[in-house]
């Protein structure tokens, strides 16, 4: 955890430095609050950094991912892809596509092909239902890309 603390503290201090420098350009009353907060955050981060230099006996280990890393990485990657592709392919199409992929990836080992397909169909139906509810009833008009 101490290394993670150190990294985080340095990152935060960097953000504070950036904040301080940019706030110079604001008008006086617009700069007041940012500068106060940046000082406070910078001070706290410095404190965190200093404390992280001292070893502590009962320090919890920093574990980014409990268990197998691959499913998590794949899921996060698909989440990012999902959001990124919405503008390109349209909301509904992207959602259905990525979701099907996600299910296959996550369930590959445990379920048979039929079961996977059934799951995909069922949840796709739910997704379409939600989509229609929001799009038609609540008039939220989702982004449309090449498809829907």
């Amino acid at each position: 955890m101490k290394t993670a603390d150190r990294v985080a503290a340095l990152l935060l201090m960097g953000i504070c430095v950036y904040g301080w420098i940019t706030s110079r350009l604001f008008s006086p009353l617009s700069a007041l609050f940012p500068q106060v907060i940046v000082l406070i955050l910078g001070g706290l981060s410095l404190l965190l950094f200093i404390l992280s230099l001292f070893r502590s006996p009962d320090e919890p280990r920093f574990v980014l991912v409990h268990g197998r890393v691959l499913p998590v990485v794949l899921t996060v990657a698909m989440m990012v892809a999902w959001v990124a592709l919405i503008s390109l392919l349209g909301f509904l199409a992207t959602s259905l596509l990525i979701f099907s992929l996600m299910t296959v990836v996550l369930e590959r080992k445990q379920r048979t092909g039929i079961q996977i397909i059934l799951r995909i169909v069922a949840v796709c139906a739910v997704m379409v239902a939600f989509y229609l509810f929001f799009d038609r009833l609540l008039l939220v008009s989702f982004p449309r890309g090449l498809l829907l």
Binding site: M1, A4, D5, A8, L12, I15, G19, T22, S23, F26, S27, P28, L29, S30, A31, L32, F33, P34, I37, V38, I40, L41, L44, S45, L48, L51, F62, V63, L64, V65, H66, G67, R68, P71, V72, T75, V76, M79, V80, V83, I86, S87, F91, S95, F99, M102, T103, L106, E107, R119, V123, V126, M127, F130, Y131, F134, L138, V140, S141, F142
Partner: protein
């Protein structure tokens, strides 16, 4: 007043009105439970439809939706650690741990009963104490808002489970995030990296969904190998009875939470999210076993849900008496009132008194109806969510998160914000930085800054900035509360040590 009161009770019990309350409650719970749909949105969408209705019908429907959606937010807060509305943020603190222990149904029932009682107490204040309370709401000027937010920030100490330092860092980070956008005074464009969308600042709902929900979704995938379902479910008997007894045994908790909710509601600009968190904080401080909070304590859920429903009525007090909305949904209601030619003020209670009193009484009914509707749907929903395998639930929740983040401002940018904060929140969670303080800073930041800068301007005009901050009676009260709240962890620790010493 009495005559009007009695006739209004009579006019409430017509078939149309009763149906409208029921419809509003059901719709409100649905809206509240879906993350990303808020009470404000729901009422705003409804306003054009009420155009053709009689004013009283429209108001009754919107009032019921308002009440029920604030309650409905607890569903996703408990089951998915995602506040369905910002008012349910505090409900996640103990509601979700309860669900993780298999007590999701019990948590929902607790939230339901607490909301009903809290809401009824709030409506009581609305019906009988509106005039003095609305005068109190006007006493809050810029200095008071500043001190109120500093008091709010001391809640961070309660929310940081292990390290107060990390909690403070989270809070300061949240405050920094709140400054992105156009400065409220003097309008400098701050920290926007050239993006127009950022000029509007970080939208609260996408940030909420990101910080609270996404880490849980990723967590679900992580735990997939160990648990089939995301949330265990243990059958429980006679839950409702148990909850009722628990609440009746601690009347002070309920009353205090409702009072806090009402008072925060009357403060213009402070909404259910702040009400619930302050109430939660006070419950922790007043409790004999504060360490149970955050791990699945019913008291935590009671404190949060009682106050956020009371806040609904609180926000209506300055709205109806002065035309000043106490919270964003009330602002939309103001528009609806004006649309129907109902001008807030004395006129509303005399000339239009019949409509107003019927409306207020309908809130009583709405709060009561939450009990059966909430328990029935709660049982069904908690069974559904807990039976779903992780691999289906996680993507579905993410899907809803995307919809929710988009639906607020119809802006894809918010979805990116949600995802970004989700990943940051995930890493933060692993580093023991709780999202609570960050979100608190984000919510309180703009109110705090405005209070600070406006007070400085006022102080300069009146000759002394220091006097402006420190000599006003209400400010002094708030400063004392702030100091007490900040020092509390140390005081409580000392008291406990002395008690332990005495026992030994």
């Amino acid at each position: 007043m009495n005559e009007l009161f009695l006739t209004s009770i009579g006019s409430l019990f017509t078939a149309t009105n009763l149906l409208l309350v029921l419809l509003g409650v059901v719709a409100g719970i649905v809206v509240g439970a879906l993350p990303g749909l808020t009470a404000t949105m729901a009422i705003a969408l409804l306003v054009p439809f009420t155009f053709t209705m009689q004013p009283v019908h429209g108001l009754i429907l919107m009032g019921a939706i308002y009440v029920a959606s604030i309650y409905g937010g607890s569903f996703s807060a408990i089951l998915l650690n995602t506040p369905g509305t910002p008012s349910a943020i505090a409900t996640t603190f103990d509601g979700y741990p309860m669900a993780k222990r298999g007590q999701s149904y019990q948590a929902i029932v607790t939230a339901t009963v607490a909301s009903v009682f809290g809401g009824l107490i709030g409506v009581f204040f609305l019906l009988f104490l509106s005039p003095p309370l609305s005068r109190l709401s006007l006493r809050f000027g810029p200095p008071e808002f500043f001190w109120l937010t500093t008091f709010g920030l001391t809640i961070i100490a309660t929310l940081s489970t292990k390290s107060i330092l990390k909690g403070l860092i989270g809070g300061a980070f949240g405050l920094l995030l709140s400054m992105i956008g156009i400065a409220p005074i003097e309008g400098s464009v701050r920290f926007t990296f050239g993006s127009i969308s950022l000029q509007n600042g970080i939208a609260l709902i996408p940030a909420l969904i990101g910080f609270f929900c996404i880490p849980e979704v990723i967590g679900m995938i992580e735990r997939k190998a160990e648990h089939y379902t995301a949330i265990p479910y243990r059958r429980q008997r006679r839950v409702l009875w148990g909850v009722l007894i628990h609440i009746v045994r601690k009347p002070l908790l309920m009353i205090r939470s409702a009072v806090i909710g009402t008072i925060v509601g009357i403060i213009p600009g402070a909404g259910g999210n702040i009400a619930a968190m302050v109430s939660y904080n006070e419950a922790v401080r007043a409790s004999r076993n504060p360490e149970q909070f955050g791990k699945g304590s019913m008291d935590g859920v009671v404190a949060a849900e009682a106050s956020n429903n009371a806040e609904v009525s609180g926000s209506l007090i300055p709205l109806l008496t002065l035309g000043i909305p106490g919270a964003p949904p009330a602002a939309v209601l103001l528009g609806a009132l004006l649309l129907h030619g109902l001008r807030p003020g004395r006129e509303l209670f005399t000339y239009h008194g019949a409509v107003t009193y019927t409306f207020m009484l309908s809130l009583v009914l709405a709060n009561i109806l939450i009990l059966p509707v909430g328990i029935f749907s709660g049982r069904w929903i908690s069974r559904l969510v807990t039976r779903l395998p992780v691999t289906l639930l996680a993507p579905m929740v993410f899907f809803l998160s995307v919809i929710g983040s988009y639906a607020i401002n119809r802006n894809m940018f918010d979805v990116f914000v949600m995802l970004g904060f989700g990943l940051i929140g995930y890493v933060g969670r692993r580093m023991k930085i709780h999202p609570g303080p960050i979100v608190l800073g984000l919510i309180l930041g703009s109110i705090c800054e405005q209070g600070l800068v406006q007070s400085i301007l006022m102080g300069r005009a009146s000759g002394s900035v220091l006097a402006m901050f420190f000599t006003r009676p209400l400010s002094i009260l708030l400063i004392s509360l702030t100091l007490l709240s900040a020092a509390w962890p140390f005081i409580a620790g000392a008291i406990r040590r002395r008690q332990a010493g005495r026992k030994a």
